[in-house]
Amino acid sequence: MTAIAFSQISGLIKSIAVAVPDQLDCDGCFNLAAEFADAELRGIELPNALNAVQIHLNQCPCCAYEYQALLEAVHAAEDNPDTNPDTNPDTNPDTNPGTNSEVNPGL
């Protein structure tokens, strides 16, 4: 018998509910992620060829998580050129343990 938290079974059921055919695997998504991110960051309408990326992201929590991390990183690199991780309390894990504790199981 496997005891399962409601949140986990709920996650599985939701992933079943949104399951549709997916042309991409994770590597295929990764290969198009930068182009997809640029379109989103610049507010450009997505070319049809990139619709497959959105379909994959909707169904793959790992890729979706990495994609969100990519958007955040590009924003940070370009919007905060002077950010110094050693001195900025928002980004320094040693001085901001609160943000450090976030864990995303299953991502």
């Binding site: 079974i9 990183a73 940070a76 980004t91 943000t99």
Partner: protein, 205 residues
């Protein structure tokens, strides 16, 4: 003016393959760019137990070895950051799940679902949910392959695809496909019993 603005927007490829002085400066600028992004983006993920500088260094090697595969469909910086983020998150996942003891193979490929905590507004909703869970159990038992059951078990334990792949000596693409096919099969199974995707989403919102 930051490093990026100083660099020619389309000049990364040329500069990264130029003579030593130009190349070294370009590498340093790219490294700084990656560190800025990684510092912010990775610090709050999975406990942030990596140094952005270390990840940037590993990523730089990958990037420099993959310049031929950059197809210029995106900005170079975004492409490079996508590589760095994948390196960083993979490392974070490895470190995080190294401490999670769950033997995906224990008990074989058969398992019974027992939901430990549940919330429902009324008894009718609870009964609906229980009915769906019983059906889910049946569909898992009757329509999935042994490998699919193992992968689903890993998912229910909260493991990411990458970690399930590692524990099953497989790779991320193969496990994603295995799980995706399993979900499609389960969805079809529910539909054959008159249960729509909307029903599922509503009852397990």
């Amino acid at each position: 003016m930051n490093d990026l603005q100083q660099a020619e927007p389309d000049g990364w490829l040329c500069r990264l393959q130029a003579d030593e002085a130009v190349r070294d400066l370009a590498i340093e600028q790219l490294r700084n760019y990656l560190v800025r992004g990684l510092s912010r983006s990775l610090s709050h993920r999975y406990g942030g137990r990596v140094q952005a500088e270390d990840i940037a260094q590993v990523a730089l090697l990958k990037i420099l070895n993959s310049l031929n595969s950059f197809q210029q469909r995106s900005r170079f910086e975004t492409w490079a950051m996508s590589i760095a983020i994948r390196v960083g998150i993979s490392e974070l996942r490895k470190r995080h799940y190294r401490d999670v003891s769950f033997d995906i193979n224990s008990g074989g490929d058969q398992f019974q679902i027992e939901v430990t905590d549940t919330t429902a507004d009324d008894i009718e909703e609870l009964n609906h949910r229980q009915h769906l869970l019983t059906l889910l159990q049946r569909l898992i038992d009757e329509t999935l392959s042994d490998k699919q059951r193992l992968a689903i078990r890993g998912t229910l334990a909260g493991l990411p695809v990458e970690e399930i792949a590692s524990r099953l000596n497989s790779n991320r693409n193969a496990i994603y496909k295995l799980l995706h096919d399993a979900r499609l099969r389960l969805r079809l199974g529910f539909e054959n019993h008159g249960i729509t995707a909307e029903d599922l989403s509503t009852l397990f919102a």
